[in-house]
Amino acid sequence: MTATCTITDWVCLACGTLCDDLTLTLDPSGPIAQLEPDCGPARLWWERVAQTASGPVAAVNGQPTSFQTALDCAAERIRAARSPRLVGLDATSLEGQRAAVALAERIGAVIDSGSAEARARLAAMARVGRCSATFGEVHARADQILIWACDPTTTHPRFLTRFVDPPGRFAVAPRNVIVVGSTPNATSARASLCLSVRPEQRIAALATLLALLRCAPIRSEQVAATTGQTLDAWTTLADALRRARYGVVVTDSTLDDPVEYEALLRLVRALNQRPDGRFVHLSLGLPGNAAGAEAVLGWQAGYAPDVTFAAGYPAMGVPDLEHDLTIELGSAFNLNRAPAAAVATIRIAPDATVTPPEPAVAIASSALGISESGTVIRSDGLALPVLSVVPSSRPSVAAILRELLQRLPDAAEQGTSP
């Protein structure tokens, strides 16, 4: 690049809001010159991921090597593996995920793609279902926003400013924002009602709200003891929820208890029993394409977020089983992801060759959202096209996986199916 370059409608993968309306101006040397509207996490993400473009294209045992040699080496290790595991599906595009699931199927791998939130949400959804909506419905209709145990102002900086602050087609501003959780936080500062509740008190709080909606006779002293708030406080909140024409409960990826999740989804469902009001739940997603991983696994395997192909067909996966090989996608992609517990045997990522710990086989890919195009899915189910904005000679994750798949012919698979 020789001059600054400006990209409009850039899709940012730094947080689960997956904003697609950013204007990005890049210095000739690479870093962000200007971001409009500005956003801290977006800048941080860009810097973290974009800087990885400098390492070698591939490495085996830490020694730089060619792409082809690394692929051969990876294939050899995969062939030898008896319990391979694939992680990091959220760090690649729908195209990459489709290839990754195909690979996992061919090699009989276990896919651990789930965040604790995804596991909790899908488990709860499988029990009670879920009432949800796209972000735009919140913008258009929501009059009551219940922020449940999260702080989108900090973690998803533009969620509220894009979809809640401005008036919508059927909703006037300001909308009523209620915060329940470990407050005060940046979001509670703007709430009309704010109930401070410790994490272990939230299930009791949800039970209390559900009981109030049913007008059940509950014990006020026990409410206070188990929820940390008075029955009056919860009654006030329940009344506000009851008044909602179109209410929204917002949670984020820290909601990871399937029991609490189920109670929350039951509350939303109960609020839909009112004849004159609707209620939906919105989960602010993780960075990247975690929702895409759920979708691809759903249509290719029938289960998400964890799937095992060990038996030659998809079955619901059990996380944290013993394995003898890990294929990791996109290690630096997610700002929040804890480093993998074990060293990856094969890592396919923009920073595969530069970020420790050093894997046996590292293959550097282009970076989705920077130097790679593809499709991603937002946590509300809307699919977005992501375009490469900085050209790169490196292959995409999907291309690398397809190359790998070619080195692992079908015939090698006999005998694993029952």
């Binding site: 279902g129 949800s132 909506a133 913008h139 894009r162 939906v280 067909y313």
Partner: protein, 543 residues
């Protein structure tokens, strides 16, 4: 040319579109059916001996739900189905998958092919879900596909209809089809979903207002039908009407049929819209098919698919989120609901149809009444509204009931007496011929969808051919085709899947006046949560 030319020899060819029902050869060149070579001595590259077998065009499903976030949500909400149905292990050249009533995408393609079907039309994709749907359909092998986009509650469309701007509506539909790579236009509970999303109940009559929009269901239906006609789309507007599943809805269905006079229209899963009785009293339900069928018999602007139900567990999935909520309240089962901005809703509820249950028994009879009361089979297509009424895998059983009164009677006898007193099914003696089955499973759906080169075996047709053993057990015959040929390639041989080529996803992109685009862009900028630039599919996204 003759090097690739091959022949299906000596089968009984049933090709109603070309008026053929006789033993003859079918010649195939690459992916097309061709006229027999002029030289009687010309030797085919391959000869498929179909003597004694029945040769038909590949089956065509005009209405099913096999792609998009709604189907996927049904999978993820019901891991128990995937777990309990036998899985499909992978083998060389084929992908693995799970089964049940909402199988995985690969399994869906393989199973359609295994049933002798070569084309399926997903009837309800939200425009904002089109991008994902194309990915799923790309992973649905063997068969060719198309999908219809949901526009009956689309804000931009509703506004234009309210403003009386027919040409703007037309341009919007055309642009939308191009942007989503959709095949046709679907209207689900026009205006009713929007009203439900506003928590004002759904619409129950054609003239109920849609708050916030200066329209009624009647206006939405007729204007979209008009626009689709004027655009010359191959498939007429595809309609899921009002009051689905409610006793007494036959009256509004008749109103709807009359309102569409002068337009082409396809009425989907008509079984669910044909009930007499009082909406507030489930027990009052009765068949309301007869007057509706009389209307259809007397008019030529309508086509139908039936939406037959089967007894057993299945999954209800619909864009009509009001219906899903109703089902949830009725059954108490888990309920998925997802509101899609600007466009539509979506609801998924597990359901089990039981032959001992009055309503379900009646629904079964009402579906069959439709098949037997519409005189001209060209007006009607076989469907289960997969998976709403049951899986498409049940088509052979339905064919059995249509071809044999005795098979119907077996089921009928086991139904509860109150249900039998509310349907005249037992008075209907009609039995379908093989040619009529060929019409409702391939020739008619092809014609309804405007697929000129499908649903028949004349020269120029796509070489999608299904060859059945002429088995007196018609259910078994249609369950296990002897051969299935997709685009000239044998994909099923000896009832086994032998090849799984990728299928096409068809779409229509009619011309439109670009002047509409700034208006659409402005609409997006004000109301959508994604940028206008990210809405239309790029060409590489849906080849």
């Amino acid at each position: 040319m003759s090097g690739r030319l091959w022949v299906i020899r000596g089968g009984r060819v049933i090709d109603p579109a070309n008026g053929v029902d006789e033993v003859r050869d079918i010649w195939i060149d690459a992916d097309r059916i061709v006229a027999p070579p002029a030289d009687p001595e010309s030797r085919p590259a391959r000869l498929l001996d179909a003597r004694g077998a029945v040769v038909m065009p590949g089956g065509i499903d005009v209405h099913c739900h096999i792609a998009g976030p709604k189907v996927n949500a049904a999978r993820l909400m019901q891991p128990e189905i995937s777990r309990e149905a036998p899985p499909r292990p992978r083998r060389a050249g084929f992908r693995s998958g799970t089964g049940g009533v909402v199988p995985t995408s690969f399994t869906t393609g393989y199973r359609y092919a295994g049933l002798g079907y070569t084309f399926a039309c997903d009837a309800a994709i939200a425009p904002l879900a089109a991008r994902q749907a194309h990915h799923e359909l790309a992973d649905t092998p063997v068969i060719d596909k198309a999908f219809l986009i949901l526009l009956g509650n689309d804000h931009f469309a509703l506004e234009r209809i309210g403003q009386g701007r027919a040409s703007a509506l037309r341009d919007y539909l055309a642009w939308m089809l191009g942007a989503t790579r959709g095949y046709g236009v679907k209207v689900v509970n026009p205006g009713g979903i929007e009203r439900w999303k506003q928590a004002q109940g759904t619409t129950s009559s054609l003239d109920d207002p849609v708050p916030g929009f200066d329209v009624t269901p009647r206006a939405i239906l007729t204007e979209i039908a008009r626009a689709v006609d004027e655009l010359g789309l191959p498939h007429p507007v595809h309609i899921h009407g009002l009051n689905l599943g409610l006793p007494g809805n036959a009256a509004s269905t008749l109103e709807l049929m009359k309102a569409l006079d002068g337009h082409r229209a396809h009425l989907a899963h008509i079984q669910f819209h044909s009930y007499a009785g009082d909406p507030s009293d489930q027990e009052s339900m009765a068949s309301g098919v007869e007057p509706l069928a009389d209307y259809v018999n007397a008019h030529d602007h309508l086509s139908l698919d039936v939406g037959q139900i089967l007894f057993g567990p299945t999954t209800s999935m619909t864009a009509d989120s009001a219906v899903a909520e109703y089902l949830h309240r009725l059954t108490g089962r888990k309920w998925l609901s997802h509101d899609v901005e600007l466009e539509t809703g979506c609801g998924v509820v597990p359901i089990e149809y039981r032959h001992t249950q009055f309503i379900h028994a009646l629904q079964w009879a009402i579906g069959l009444e439709w098949f037997l009361r519409v005189n001209d089979p060209w007006k009607l297509a076989l469907s289960t509204d997969h998976p709403n009424g049951g899986s498409y895998l049940a088509y052979p059983r339905i064919i059995g009931w249509l071809m044999s009164r005795a098979l119907r009677d077996e089921v009928w006898a086991a139904l509860p007496a109150p249900a039998r007193s509310r349907s005249a099914l037992a008075d209907l003696d009609r039995e379908y011929t093989l040619a009529e089955i060929a019409i409702i499973t391939r020739a008619a759906p092809a014609r309804m969808l405007g697929l000129a080169d499908r649903g028949h075996l004349g020269p120029g047709a796509r070489a999608d051919v299904t060859i059945y053993r002429d088995d007196p057990d018609r259910v078994r015959m249609f369950e296990l085709p002897r051969w299935v040929i997709k685009s000239g390639q044998i994909v099923i041989d000896d009832s086994e899947l032998r090849a799984a080529p990728d299928g096409l996803t068809l779409h229509n992109a009619p011309a439109h006046d670009d002047a509409i685009i700034p208006e659409i862009r402005d609409h997006f900028d004000r109301h959508a949560s994604i940028r206008f630039a990210h809405f239309p599919l790029r060409s590489e996204e849906a080849p």
